[in-house]
Symmetry: C2
Subunit: 338 residues, 2 copies
Amino acid sequence: MLSERRLQVLRAIVQDYVGTEEPVGSKALTERHNLGVSPATVRNDMAALEDEGFIAQPHTSAGRIPTDKGYRLFVDKLAGVKPMSPPERRAIQNFLDGAVDLDDVVARTVRLLAQLTRQVAVVQYPSLTRSTVRHVELLSLAPARLMLVLITDTGRVEQRMVDCPAPFGESSLADLRARLNSRVAGRRFADVPSLVEDLPEAFEAEDRGTVSTVLSTLLETLVEENEERLMIGGTANLTRFGHDFPLTIRPVLEALEEQVVLLKLLGEAGDSGMTVRIGHENAYEGLNSTSVVSVGYGSGGEAVAKLGVVGPTRMDYPGTMGAVRAVARYVGQILAES
Amino acid sequence: MLSERRLQVLRAIVQDYVGTEEPVGSKALTERHNLGVSPATVRNDMAALEDEGFIAQPHTSAGRIPTDKGYRLFVDKLAGVKPMSPPERRAIQNFLDGAVDLDDVVARTVRLLAQLTRQVAVVQYPSLTRSTVRHVELLSLAPARLMLVLITDTGRVEQRMVDCPAPFGESSLADLRARLNSRVAGRRFADVPSLVEDLPEAFEAEDRGTVSTVLSTLLETLVEENEERLMIGGTANLTRFGHDFPLTIRPVLEALEEQVVLLKLLGEAGDSGMTVRIGHENAYEGLNSTSVVSVGYGSGGEAVAKLGVVGPTRMDYPGTMGAVRAVARYVGQILAES
DNA sequence: TCTGGCACTCGCGTACGAAGAGTGCCAGGC
DNA sequence: GCCTGGCACTCTTCGTACGCGAGTGCCAGA
């Protein structure tokens, strides 16, 4: 077990390294933080921390830098979440309040996060799986061609064309529309399949084919739209990554282009609370020198999607976590209001 | 005026420099291209080309590299557009054929372009201004609440809620729907305003308010949606930019995040044919060391949007132009089919 | 257990010289 | 008149050497 002072030394190393981007030595530590002990003592502590794998030295006779394990300890035990200042909070709220629709909310959130954290921001669109249906509309474009429109509680609108196996009368259409809405309006997506299962039975034989087609299109929409989209921003902040550029930045850019990777990344994060994945804790190899801070957000108490930032492992964790949490909270509010 | 041979020398310089990324000297030129003259002669030609501002040397006693002006001449007079090979064409078509909706078409196009050119691809969503209306649908969600759905010939669907000043009966709704479609279906967006202008007059006084509201919502949709969206991809290719990394790449990433800049960039390009903007020809400062190859594409003969790539001025112009043209053509076909 | 001292190790910046690539220019040849 | 070979000159690049500074590890003493 590490003594209290050693933990303080580790904390000081992380803070200094994050600030200066340079390996930090024993002397500098005692000068910048009043630890109450001499450099020599700190050196001993550092040697111990190195033995435990929390810090490492890039070369002999250079200062120490934290390892992934060191950052992990820092995040878990040594650092809190730095709350946003009131002015920052107001700025966040003002900025998000101007949004006109869902796309805009997401776009603004991305910009905001990128700006606040000076890192790459990733925002998932509110997922449909946990959303509820606000309304389903059906309209006939031609005798055997319908349009299905799905409106979700997050304000998202999805539409599909449906080619019917047989002509479908206006009265049948009105009937189906009414029955469909009475069953699914206000219900969660996940519940829809079982709720509409027996719906064809309520119709005349000649209409059943069409009803089934409509229903399967609806279910498809739910599933397909579950292939979540996301938006990223702040990639220019990648240039602040490190000195050894192309090597570090390239795989990150590649990862950012692979939506699948990102979605997995966010998906892996725990459902509640904030998740921080540091360096090699990220499954995707290209992100081994980055940390990902993510959190769920949603309109109600429940998270319907995630957002987060990707930055160098050498990042200001308390500040980043504070910004991520605050943004997630306000986005949730905005979604709840609209 | 430059002699034929000097043009050949310039062409050779551009080709070699694009290939090697290194300043090219007189000796190497005579070895790699059989110009039929000695290095000394080439040196004279190079001196002349430098006087004219087509090439420059980074330092005294280094080889020459083309200037923006040199690339311009190369593109205008010396290089054609390199057509895609049949296998490449097939690959393009196959890749795009798999698309399921407009978003998917755009997403696939971006990936494809980025992959083919190994540069950053930018694809604008098909614009609505030049599209035509396929269908307008109206449906009532509540006595005084309508939903307006606009379907375009490019397969895009936009919807808006309309709060009516007064309740609007089903028969009036059907009437409006029919009249609206008979007037605007198949017509171009730009023509819609004048086509619906006098529509309220055909209705009873009590319904006119609602009709006007619907119409203005429709017109708003047309205008608003003209705020075009775009998608970018292949940013990882930026790492192949040059050796002097952060300085070059940062402003480009920033530019790519500014949709406004990109839209302007594409917008400035001529309406017909391919446009190549080289280095300082780009108005936006951050893109002064990049070239932008863009072209319009559309479902019919007419361009409804633009797409292109952003890469270093030192790019393979014939190949890039070939890829951009081919992709634009196939995307046009796909849009026309759907 | 902490502290001061000391020798040791490297990385970094600078300086210097040799090598190599490329140029410009000039005189001579077709 | 144009092309060519030759030659001197300029710069960049690379390897080596060297001194400086920062930082460490260890040890003896408080």
